[in-house]
Amino acid sequence: MLARPMKLRLIDAINVVSLWAEIFSWWSEVQMGPPDPILGVSEAYKRDTNPKKINLGVGAYRDDQGKPYVLSCVRKAEAQIAAKKLDKEYLAIGGLGDFTKACAKLALGDDNEVIKSGRNITVQTISGTGSLRIGANFLSRFHTEARDVYLPKPSWGNHTPIFRDAGMQLKAYTYYDPKTCGFDFQGALNDISKIPEKSVIMLHACAHNPTGVDPRPEQWKEIADLVKKRNLLVFFDMAYQGFASGDIDRDAWAVRYFIEQGHNIVLSQSFAKNMGLYGERVGGFTVVCKDAEEAKRVESQLKILIRPIYSNPPMNGARIAATILNTPDLYKEWLGEVHGMANRIITMRELLVANLKKEGSTRNWKHVIDQIGMFCFTGLKPEQVERLTKEFSIYMTKDGRISMAGVTSGNVGYLAQGIHAVTK
């Protein structure tokens, strides 16, 4: 008689345990993360059913039909590579040698003294983000005299979380002047003059993201001078070489000038935009060292940083980039195609302003033409951006940044209509 009630209780106990196991989760306290502000825009755009919708969010180049553009030199390089029947063995931790050498030459110039003396170390990275992250990790571990990284105000949205996650602290220097939609040169110099020695200063090599506002050469010279006086460590982010002016040497001018002036910089490069290799994740990270011996030591430490993240980088994109950079015909073709992409963007800038005038806008839109590169800081306020998205299905980031690459001769009229409607 007693046995039965006990058995019942055991079953109840088991049921309670399994019920608890069903509702208990390790992840109950995990909050829903907010959508990424930049990539989230594309995702919202995809969900929109309005046939007139325009995606001016993420910075990926589009042709005049609004389609992704696979460069002809890329297709040719791919065909060449396929014919070679290469194996798929692991790359070295630092990546494909043919790529890293060419990557450094592209940034610094073929004849650069740095490369000749072997005092740079250039490693292949997971595009620009991966490069910045390795750089941030390296500085965090070895640049112990200062924890602060000074970003231009504003900067690419992902700079801050990258450096913060790597353990650095973020500060800012004045850069953009919302009154002129241009460069606040005096403001920048003022702020830079107060940056504590040995801090890290981030400079966008060309085609500043998100504003499209770049210093002029004379202004770069003064900045270089001041940065030297303040003894700051320069971190160049060059994600748009070739894309800004259409000329890869012109776009690398600031980087090369700083090095000439004796700054031993660190440099991130991306081939996402200028070779259209976005999803292949092709990038480079360079440290300009005192001499070749120091470069070897730095290299060994970069490998130690890379190994526990992803062991070694992906081959495909680096192989394509190396083939293009190292094959004279393909290289020439590439220069032409980059020039073509930059030109289309410049044309769209002009068309947008012309259309805004046609719509009857009396605002000053000169900055649309003065700014350079993929992005345009329109000057639109968040409420205006929201209206553009909700009422016109025109997608851009909240800060009023538009990707000019998303503008086509087919949609520039509608875009001008929308912008005029929310700003008149």
Partner: protein, 410 residues
């Protein structure tokens, strides 16, 4: 004066240094039994026939481009990769409580899992939560977790050097005494470096303790298909744990079983209590991905996805995998037979009992050094050999060298 004046020269990663030394060795008899990559009987890398086929398809398809993948990766890749690990009919998949993150190889998957756990597991900030890795283990496990911010990475007993097998009692003992909620990195199959896996019954015992003590299950699955030649067999442990109701991570690599080493194809499979938990976990994974590599590389994932999602290609792939596994099994049998025939002191059954790419020979560091210096046979200081480095042409030389080493060097 340089900002980097104080940067010390780091010691090179051992396995890559070994490969470099091998490359520089002029001895024509040299054999590389170091790094874990498959080799044919001609000692050459092998691009799987199915991979060659799919690559041609990709190059020829003008509709494909090089646009960014989503942050979490190619959806068709993630879901088909998880199916490979968990089984198509996995209850967890049916119940919609599986998520995945495409990562850069197995390393990348471990990294993402580690970063997530450090931030979100069992309440925030797990810097002090112990992470247990097997003794011995793949040496990069330690670095991955340490670099993700875990301050307490410890060994759990695993390899019994004396009996050259699994130290089950030690393993279970460490599970019993580990602080509750500790994280355990388990090798799904073909343990690296020992080649020694628990039996089904032993796995069941491990699972029982882990459930009772609320320990976190983090599988590292780098050799599915490679161990036995059969995908399902090699996934038994992972699937068993799922049926026991665990929430867990499984870091998958397609480097070896697809031979896609340099394309960095990996997947972090997440099994959670329900879809809502999966959703929130993935949203936080996105944030971690974004500050590490933004989005993963496209080529390798595309290749794997096409293969797994096309019936005939999938069949061909399984066949290619079996080819590799069978050659390894053949080399194991051959080496063991030759050592026995030579009368090499000691027992050599472990060579055929162990499974996967690696064998823990039992050679000590002095003997390893002798093998390298005197015989130009390159293996890890731990005595680990990569069976794939053996061929019908070099196996006699290797067997004789092991014999000579064991006899002359203690």
């Amino acid at each position: 004066m340089s900002l980097f004046g104080e940067v010390p020269q780091a010691t090179p990663v051992a396995v890559f240094k070994l490969s470099n030394d091998f490359k520089d060795d002029p001895n024509p008899m040299k054999v590389n039994l170091g790094v874990g990559a498959y080799r044919t009987d001609e000692g050459q890398p092998w691009v799987l026939p199915v991979v060659k086929k799919v690559e041609k398809l990709i190059v020829a398809d003008n509709r494909l481009n090089h646009e960014y993948l989503p942050i979490l990766g190619l959806p068709e890749f993630r879901s088909s990769a998880s199916k490979i690990a968990l089984g198509e009919d996995s209850p967890a998949i049916q119940e919609n409580r599986v998520g995945a993150v495409q990562c850069l190889g197995g390393t990348g998957a471990l990294k993402m899992g580690a970063e997530f756990l450090r931030r979100w597991y069992n309440g925030n900030d797990n810097m002090k939560t112990p992470v247990y890795v097997s003794a011995p283990t793949w040496e990069n496990h330690n670095s991955v977790f340490a670099n993700a911010g875990f301050k307490d990475v410890r060994p759990y007993k695993y390899w019994d050097a004396e009996k050259r097998g699994l130290d089950l009692a030690g393993f279970l003992g460490d599970l019993e005494t580990a602080p509750k909620h500790s994280i355990f990195v388990l090798h799904a199959c073909a343990h690296n470096p020992t080649g020694t896996d628990p039996t089904h019954v032993e796995w069941m015992q491990v699972a029982e303790v882990m459930e009772r003590r609320k320990l976190f299950v983090f599988f590292d699955s780098a050799y599915q298909g490679f161990a036995s030649g059969c995908l399902d067999k090699d996934a038994w442990a992972v699937r068993y744990f799922v049926t026991q109701g665990f929430e867990m991570f499984c870091a998958q690599s397609f480097s070896k079983n697809f031979g896609l080493y340099n394309e960095r194809v990996g997947n972090l499979t997440i099994v959670a209590r329900d879809a809502d938990n999966v959703r929130r976990v993935l949203s936080q994974m996105e944030k971690i991905v974004r500050v590490t590599w933004s989005n993963p590389p496209s080529q390798g994932a595309r290749l794997v996805a096409i293969t797994l999602n096309t019936a005939e290609l999938f069949a061909e792939w399984k066949d290619n995998v079996k080819t590799m596994a069978d050659r390894v099994l053949l080399m194991r049998a051959s080496l063991q037979a030759k050592l026995q025939a030579l009368g090499t002191p000691g027992t050599w059954d472990h060579i055929t009992q162990q499974i996967g790419m690696f064998s823990f020979t039992g050679l000590n560091p002095k003997q390893v050094e002798y093998m390298i210096k005197e015989r130009s046979i390159y293996l890890m200081a731990s005595g680990r050999i990569n069976m794939c480095g053996l061929t019908t042409k070099n196996i006699d030389y290797v067997a004789k060298s092991i014999h000579e080493t064991v006899v002359n060097v203690q």
